[in-house]
């Protein structure tokens, strides 16, 4: 398993965010807060880390005076997440077989 990704997704909030973005096309900041159950500040930090790793893209725009943040998974993020999930599954299967 990719050690960097393993480390990145060891955090449950980041794992929840990436899992959610894997199933949808885009999600708002508010929705990510709801899905992960984390605070605004925490989400900001976690999505920044995911963006720095190239797993997601953050798009910011303003509507009137309100900032709107949307997040999307990148193709790199999608591929990495698939590999991560396959590795997790195979590790679990091997453990059960033993």
């Amino acid at each position: 398993m990719n050690k960097e990704l393993e480390k990145l997704l060891f955090n449950p909030i980041r794992l929840k965010i990436l899992s959610f973005l894997f199933t949808v096309e885009s999600a708002s900041f508010k929705k990510l807060m709801e899905v992960s159950g984390a605070t605004k500040g925490n989400i900001s930090i976690q999505i920044k880390k995911l963006e720095d790793a190239g797993c997601i893209k953050i798009k910011k725009k303003f509507e009137g005076n309100y900032p709107l943040t949307s997040c999307f998974i990148t193709s790199k993020g999608r591929k990495s997440f698939e590999l991560f999930f396959i590795s997790l599954k195979s590790y679990e299967t091997n453990k059960t077989e033993k």
Partner: protein, 189 residues
């Protein structure tokens, strides 16, 4: 956090995320009622709607465009409320967007050529309704689309029938009733 915990988190998130179908049902109901009212007004006051050569065309282009603008704004607002969009949702949006464009084009060309746009619009509508029904796996909608095809067949066999009445029945069976059934479904997904 163990591997099992991670797998559980991933599975829970994936299983809980679904495309919301209630907004689609509102779209179907809105257009079902909107087009029926327009057809009814045209049927009851033909002299008023067809005052000039272009008035009926303008009526059938201008009002649906207002409807499209209203529904686009409503859909954007709904998306913000839901907070996420899915690939399935985008596919449905594209299909109906293409239908809206096709509708306007057919009406414009029909006006230009002096022919009735109802059979062509109904055909396009039937296609889009069947496609949507199959994509979301909702049988009443797929059947509704097929019913529209039956009406087009009937129209071709008896061209003397009143197109507005055929339009109203087709829209009611193809859009309105499946839309109401979709909105009454227990799950929103």
């Amino acid at each position: 956090m163990t591997n099992s915990d991670q797998i559980k988190i991933i599975n829970d998130i994936i299983n809980e995320t679904r495309t919301k179908l209630k907004p689609l049902s509102f779209n179907l109901i809105f257009w079902g009622i909107f087009i029926n009212i327009m057809s009814l007004i045209h049927y009851v006051f033909p002299a008023f709607i067809q005052q000039t050569y272009y008035s009926a065309g303008i009526y059938w282009i201008f009002l649906p465009m207002i409807g499209m603008i209203y529904m686009t704004r409503w859909n954007i607002k709904k998306y913000k409320e839901i907070g996420y969009s899915t690939t399935l949702g985008r596919a449905i949006k594209i299909i109906w967007g293409v239908f809206g464009f096709g509708w306007l084009m057919i009406t414009l060309f029909s006006l230009y050529k002096g022919i009735n746009p109802v059979p062509d619009i109904l055909f396009l509508l039937g296609l889009v309704v069947v496609m949507t029904g199959m994509i979301i796996k909702f049988k009443p909608l797929t059947i509704g689309g097929m019913v529209i095809f039956v009406f087009i067949f009937k129209l071709n066999q008896n061209p003397d029938q009143n197109f507005l009445i055929v339009n109203m029945i087709g829209i009611t069976l193809g859009l309105l009733i499946p839309g109401i059934m979709l909105s009454r479904m227990k799950t929103d997904e």
